[in-house]
């Protein structure tokens, strides 16, 4: 499913988007990718969505230690200290 004159098509863009975001493309490939984006609002939208996805994933909460877990790990530490002498 190659486009004309060596240009990327949308279906290829969605498979290459991570290489692009990760900076893992050669200069020529990157230019080809950006040339497609410049003329394709849908693929630009797709790229925005991938970036939004990464942002949202990065916002997942990490959970604080519960009091029980704190106790558990304090006990682990003291047990180790006692063993280590």
């Amino acid at each position: 499913m190659l486009g004309r004159a060596n240009e990327l098509v949308c279906q290829e863009i969605v498979e290459l988007v991570t290489d692009y975001i990760e900076g893992a493309m050669g200069r020529a490939e990157r230019r080809r990718f950006e040339r497609h984006l410049a003329g394709c609002e849908h693929c630009s939208e797709y790229l925005d969505q991938m970036r939004a996805t990464i942002r949202l994933t990065g916002r997942l909460r990490t959970h604080d230690l519960t009091p029980e877990m704190r106790e558990q790990f304090a006990a682990l530490y003291r047990g180790w200290r006692a063993d280590a002498g």
Binding site: E22, A24, M50, A52, T57, L60, R61
Partner: protein, 227 residues
């Protein structure tokens, strides 16, 4: 440590250079500096420092352990075992790698020796396009293009539902994809750190990341778009 070296070696303008270096490290290495400080206190026998380290890394370790082993109970054991490994190994830890990388390596080893889930054997490149073929025409151009929902995703009222959806999809991902996603996009590790921790190549890491992120995008689209 390097900044101290600078102040000693360079008599003129040293403070300015050190200040620059601190600013730079503060931005990209703040988390590591805090780890290093806590490690230092732990070496001196400070129990609170240990608990602070546990609090900082517990969520990551539990999530990752859960990805390797078949039950939450075993995952918790693996994580406890990992911290015990930290206590036992702390005097030998030279600090050449980051604490996170060290922690992850201990955890992965413990998890592996405990027995791994079946879905971890799934090959890296589980074939198939990341966007369904039916959304493109024969030339490969969009036929059912992505709708615009990026701003909606920032809506506070939606945030909790979306976070839950992301957690659910993460849990359903094949093991290796989940591990890479957790470490890269949830925890914010660099690709190099992830490759080291999971012992995979840059190329494999990127394939796994690509499939996982694409799957998450698809799920968000289903949640937010009308496609």
């Amino acid at each position: 440590m390097h900044t101290h070296l600078l102040t000693v070696v360079l008599p003129i303008g040293a403070n300015a250079i050190a200040a620059l270096a601190v600013g730079w490290r503060g931005r990209i290495g703040g988390a590591r500096d805090e780890d290093a400080e806590l490690l230092e206190r732990l070496r001196a026998g400070d129990e609170e420092a240990f608990l602070a380290l546990v609090a900082r890394h517990q969520a990551m370790l539990l999530r990752l352990a859960r990805s390797f082993v078949s039950s939450s109970a075993i995952a918790e054991e693996v994580v406890q075992d990992t911290w015990l490994g930290v206590l036992r190994g702390i005097d030998g830890f030279a600090g050449r790698s980051s604490l996170r990388t060290w922690l992850l390596r201990i955890l992965v080893n413990r998890a592996r020796s405990t027995g791994v889930r079946e879905d971890r054997s799934v090959a890296v490149g589980d074939a198939g396009p990341v966007v369904d073929r039916s959304r493109f025409d024969v030339s490969g151009a969009w036929m059912a293009p992505p709708e615009h929902w990026v701003e909606d995703a920032n809506d506070r009222l939606l945030a909790q539902a979306l976070a839950q959806r992301i957690e659910d999809v993460l849990a359903e991902l094949p093991g290796r994809q989940r591990e890479v996603l957790l470490l890269r996009d949830v925890e914010g590790l660099s690709s190099q750190e992830v490759c080291e921790a999971l012992d995979i190549s840059e190329g494999n890491q990127r394939v796994l990341l690509h499939r996982g992120r694409s799957r998450l995008r698809e799920a968000l689209e289903a949640e937010l778009g009308t496609v």
